[in-house]
């Protein structure tokens, strides 16, 4: 491995080690949140590549996560690493199919088709009831944690490892000719063709890579929750992922991390606010599901209007000013 790869590897290992250290400071609930954020990060990192660097929108990444999660749930649970690899493979194949269609579509049409993909998930799980057990879903019996580590900590480690692998590979790709070709196609398709870049193939590749990341994130979701059901992978999830990458800072892996963290912390923060308010149980119940989405939607509008670079853009600007 050469210089850039070595640097990416060092940063990844250092970051992952720091997070593993952090798991010793957090209580089980916070560890579970950390694990969830790491699982989200796999998906948001892939999505920010697709949208931010290749210019393709997807409202279907929730569904791609579902393919990964269901693959883990359906395979025998003995060899977790193998079933996670299979989950990535299945999501990759699904991504190739959607990606081929996506490469022919632009803007709102692309959003429409990927939205349709998301709507297919509950339909498929209900129709093939015998396999997917409909709304009820499947349970996942992940191998238990070793005796010397608390289960939540162990789960966090697994998710951190998945996120680390994702970020390492994506960082390498973005620094390579593939990252350059993705961005070239995003900026000007005609000029890209004349530069010898096969536009459709490049777009499909971006979609496939992005889908693989989503599949890994979905697989980690299944492992963390020990269960899989269609409600986890609803349209809301796809929207959340989209919001997260935009609010975090489109096209930046660090931004994807901020977005993933926000996806975990924001609903939690809203929870604690609404808990403090004198609301009837009925109203509180209704707010629980919808308020985070509303707040996120509002944040999205504000971010797009005020700070197009997202949280990461703000941070970079702040650091520059300090220097």
């Amino acid at each position: 491995m050469a210089r850039v790869g070595l640097r990416h590897l060092t940063v990844t290992i250092a970051g992952a080690s720091a997070l593993v250290g952090l798991t010793y400071l957090l209580d089980p609930f916070r560890n579970y949140q950390l694990a969830t954020a790491a699982a989200y990060l796999c998906a948001t990192a892939g999505l920010t590549l697709l949208i931010g660097l290749n210019g393709q929108v997807s409202l279907g990444h929730g569904a791609l996560m579902a393919t990964g999660a269901y693959t883990v749930a359906l395979l025998p649970s003995g060899m977790l690493l193998l079933s996670v690899a299979a989950a990535v493979l299945v999501a990759t194949l699904a991504g190739a199919v959607v990606g081929v269609a996506a490469a022919r579509l632009r803007g709102p049409y692309l959003a429409g088709v990927t939205l349709a993909v998301t709507m297919v998930v509950p339909a498929v799980t209900t129709m093939a009831d015998a396999v997917f057990h409909g709304d009820q879903g499947l349970s996942v019996a992940a191998p238990p944690a070793p005796l010397w580590v608390a289960p939540e900590r162990w789960q966090a480690w697994q998710a951190i490892a998945a996120a680390a692998v994702t970020l390492f590979v994506l960082a390498n790709l973005l620094r390579s000719r593939f990252g350059r070709e993705w961005r070239a196609v995003r900026d000007d398709e005609v000029a890209a063709q004349l530069a010898g870049i096969p536009v459709a193939r490049t777009q499909v590749l971006a979609f496939v890579v992005s889908a693989a990341c989503a599949g890994l994130g979905g697989a980690m979701f299944a492992v963390l929750a020990q269960s899989v059901s269609p409600s986890t992978f609803s349209l809301t999830l796809s929207l959340y992922l989209l919001l997260a990458v935009v609010v975090g800072g489109l096209g930046s892996l660090a931004g994807a991390a901020w977005g993933a963290l926000l996806l975990v912390l924001l609903p939690d923060a809203i929870h604690s606010v609404t808990d403090g308010l004198p609301l009837g149980p009925d109203l509180a119940q209704r707010l629980t599901g919808n308020l985070p989405l509303a707040v996120f939607g509002l944040t999205l509008v504000l971010v797009v209007l005020a700070v197009p670079g997202g949280l990461q853009g703000l941070l970079v600007r702040a650091v520059r000013r300090l220097r």
């Binding site: 491995m1 850039v4 620094r175 000719r177 530069a195 536009v199």
Partner: protein
């Protein structure tokens, strides 16, 4: 529309050949049996009034437009490439305006132009294997050399949008040359440039070793650099010949040059 690749009527000829190429947009006859030849090393100018079909000639060569009839060939072989395959065949093209990738640095733009020579496999790039980085270093060095040849290496790390127009035009030219083309298609290279820049551009074009085909309104440039001119009017070739011959051709004078010649 798919045409069976037919052998060239009068035997293979080196360089780019268009034989009776016809292009229709609906009812509009954009090109009407256009024939022309760009010999290896030659500089051929395509001129004509607005809407004469000059850019359509480029688009049909590049595969953006399919001909309704006629034959295109490169070095004797039929030319039916899709746009992204052209660079591999040794044909590069600049666009009207600049057409740079605005989200890539100047250096990255030129590196993207050398995509045909980038061979790093996906897995090697994903794992940042040494071969991948060696190749990136090679592309970077070559791109810098290109920028240096065109006198804009100082701007390598800038974003195109922050640069003056003439500099951006040069970067676009550097990107096209990055593919080491045998044939360079220049679409209005002098557009938006001042007299000094045009003079430098003329020197630059004359210094190129590859064949050049250029569509241009700027007559000083055309007359200065072209070995041969093809004059289009309403999609038809109304004259071909050396710049001097074309300038003295009364048909051309009437269709296009008009007052410029008589003055």
């Amino acid at each position: 529309m798919e045409r069976p690749p037919s052998p060239e009527p009068s035997g293979p000829r080196a360089g780019l050949v268009l034989r009776s190429v016809t292009v229709r947009f609906g009812g509009l006859l954009a090109l009407d049996e256009v024939s022309l030849h760009v010999a290896p090393g030659a500089v051929v100018g395509v001129i004509g009034p607005n809407g004469a079909g000059k850019t359509t000639v480029f688009n049909v060569i590049c595969g953006f437009v399919r001909p309704a009839a006629g034959w295109l060939g490169l070095d004797g072989a039929p030319l039916t490439a899709r746009p992204h395959q052209l660079a591999g065949l040794g044909i590069a093209r600049t666009l009207q305006g600049v057409g740079l990738f605005e989200g890539l640095t100047v250096l990255e733009n030129v590196m993207a132009g050398a995509t045909v020579s980038a061979r790093t496999p996906f897995a090697a790039a994903a794992l940042a294997l040494p071969g991948s980085e060696r190749e990136e270093r090679r592309l970077r060095a070559e791109a810098l050399a290109r920028l240096d040849e065109l006198g804009v290496a100082a701007h390598a790390d800038r974003m195109p949008g922050t640069l003056p127009y003439p500099v951006r035009k040069r970067v676009a030219l550097a990107r096209a040359l990055a593919a080491n083309p045998r044939l360079l298609l220049l679409d209005e290279p002098a557009g938006g440039l001042g007299p000094e820049d045009v003079a430098e551009l003329a020197d630059l074009i004359r210094g190129l070793t590859c064949s050049v085909m250029l569509v241009e309104h700027h007559m000083d440039l055309v007359m200065a650099v072209c070995d041969e001119l093809v004059v289009l009017d309403f999609g038809r070739v109304i004259a071909t010949g050396t710049p001097d011959a074309v300038r003295d051709d009364p048909v051309v004078a009437e269709a296009y040059l008009g007052a410029e010649v008589t003055a």
